[in-house]
């Protein structure tokens, strides 16, 4: 799917994350997290997995996380993708 507009999903509460998507020429993922040192690589792997699942290969993906579990990451990112791609 192609990111055609700006979209956001999630909250800033503990155990949650905020996802911001914007159209872009290339895929650029930035992750900020209160647990980046411990789980940065796992968060990144989950994000890549969800993006691949939805065929997103271009876009500005910004994530600010406060220790969300992987299913929360998946749900928030999928929601943002739906919002960014719907017509």
């Amino acid at each position: 799917m192609k990111i055609v507009k700006k979209a956001q999903a999630g909250t800033m509460q503990s155990s949650d994350l905020m996802v911001f998507l914007e159209p872009a020429e290339t895929l650029n993922v930035t992750i900020e997290s209160t647990v980046l040192k411990q789980f940065g690589a796992l968060i990144r792997a989950k994000v890549d997995e969800v993006l691949a699942k939805h065929g997103v290969d271009a876009g500005e993906v910004r994530i600010t996380d406060r220790g969300a579990l992987d299913y929360a990451i998946e749900a928030r990112l999928e929601t943002a993708i739906m919002r960014a791609t719907e017509g």
């Binding site: 956001q8 800033m12 905020m18 911001f20 997290s33 600010t64």
Partner: protein, 333 residues
């Protein structure tokens, strides 16, 4: 649930809550939201442009997630309106509360700390990484509204004293000449100087975030603290990235706000490892050359004298059809 505060009763409650927590109700704002519990307002927050303000939670409800909810709503709504980075001013003691919400501390001075949501500063700095050459570099931050022979003189002097000179043009759109036009005048007016690199300040120097009173001449008492924050941000975060050891500035005989800014610069920057060199302004007709003098002459239609105050490249722009549209609002010419 977070809701917009619109009715008179909402606003009365917001004012009372803010005053009870030692803050003030400050108009204007673009968005004002709050959380009610049994008809009583227990949390409030507002957004004005990129700045979040008036954030307060009733003492009885602190320690929970109300602040998170208010900030989430403000950031989410702001993002939908096209704002992509957010700033908050708070006291240094409260900064950790925002850091847990993924705000990053940009600068802290005395009673005020400035934080940014997200990694905007890092992305801003990364944009220029490939332009930076190692060496003894210098910087000038200027609005260039418009670019004058005074700016040109300062740039020449500074460029001769360093390996690479970064000329930061103020990004903020609060001036007669729009950013694009100022940037072009600066680039055209310095293109012959090989070691000058023209960049923009984004929101991180002399902006409505770091130094709002710069744009309201004659400032206010809060201006002093903001100048400090602006300069600390420059010295601690921007200068090291650009390998800048010296900031150059023109002496300021005319504008009080800028003179105070220069004075603060001498006090704040050297202890943080950035030297300040103040360069005497050049004169034309026994009066210092300044952009405000050029603007006054333009608005009065005194075109003859302007050629003595600006480089040829700026004059060409001012007299182009695009340039005329900017300063001749009445369309008399």
């Amino acid at each position: 649930m977070v809701t917009s505060l619109l009715s008179t009763d909402d606003l009365t409650q917001a004012r009372a809550l803010l005053e009870a927590t030692g803050l003030q109700f400050e108009t204007p704002y673009d968005d004002l939201v709050g959380i009610f519990e049994a008809g009583r307002l227990v949390a409030v927050g507002a957004r004005q442009g990129r700045t979040l303000k008036m954030l307060a939670v009733a003492p009885s409800h602190q320690g929970g997630t109300l602040l998170d909810e208010v900030v989430t709503e403000l950031v989410g709504r702001g993002y939908q309106e096209g704002v992509d980075s957010f700033f908050v001013f708070t006291s240094p003691a409260l900064a950790p509360n925002f850091e847990t919400l993924n705000f990053n501390l940009l600068a802290a001075s005395g009673k005020t700390a400035l934080l940014e949501y997200g990694d905007g500063l890092k992305r801003y700095l990364a944009r220029f990484t490939r332009l930076i050459r190692p060496g003894n570099n210098g910087a000038i931050v200027a609005n260039c509204n418009p670019f004058t022979l005074g700016h040109r003189y300062l740039v020449e002097k500074a460029a001769a004293a360093v390996d690479q000179l970064f000329l930061f043009v103020v990004r903020e759109e609060r001036s007669l000449f729009p950013f694009g036009a100022r940037m072009r005048m600066v680039q055209d007016g310095t293109s012959d100087l090989a070691n000058v690199t023209v960049v923009d300040t984004s929101w991180y120097a002399i902006s409505s975030i770091t130094f709002p009173t710069y744009f309201l001449k004659d400032g206010d008492p809060g201006g002093a603290i903001q100048m400090e924050l602006d300069l600390m941000l420059f010295a601690q975060r921007i200068a090291p990235h650009f390998l800048v050891k010296t900031r150059f500035v023109g002496s300021e005989p005319l504008c009080g706000t800028t003179a105070a800014y220069n004075e603060t610069m001498h006090r704040v920057l050297p202890p943080l490892g950035v030297d300040v060199r103040e360069i005497e302004r050049t004169n034309a007709d026994q009066q210092p050359i300044s952009a405000s003098r050029v603007r006054e002459m333009l608005l009065r239609g005194e075109l003859e004298g302007i050629a003595e105050l600006v480089p040829m490249s700026t004059l060409d722009f001012l007299l182009s059809s695009e340039g005329i549209k900017i300063w001749d609002k009445g369309g008399a010419r």
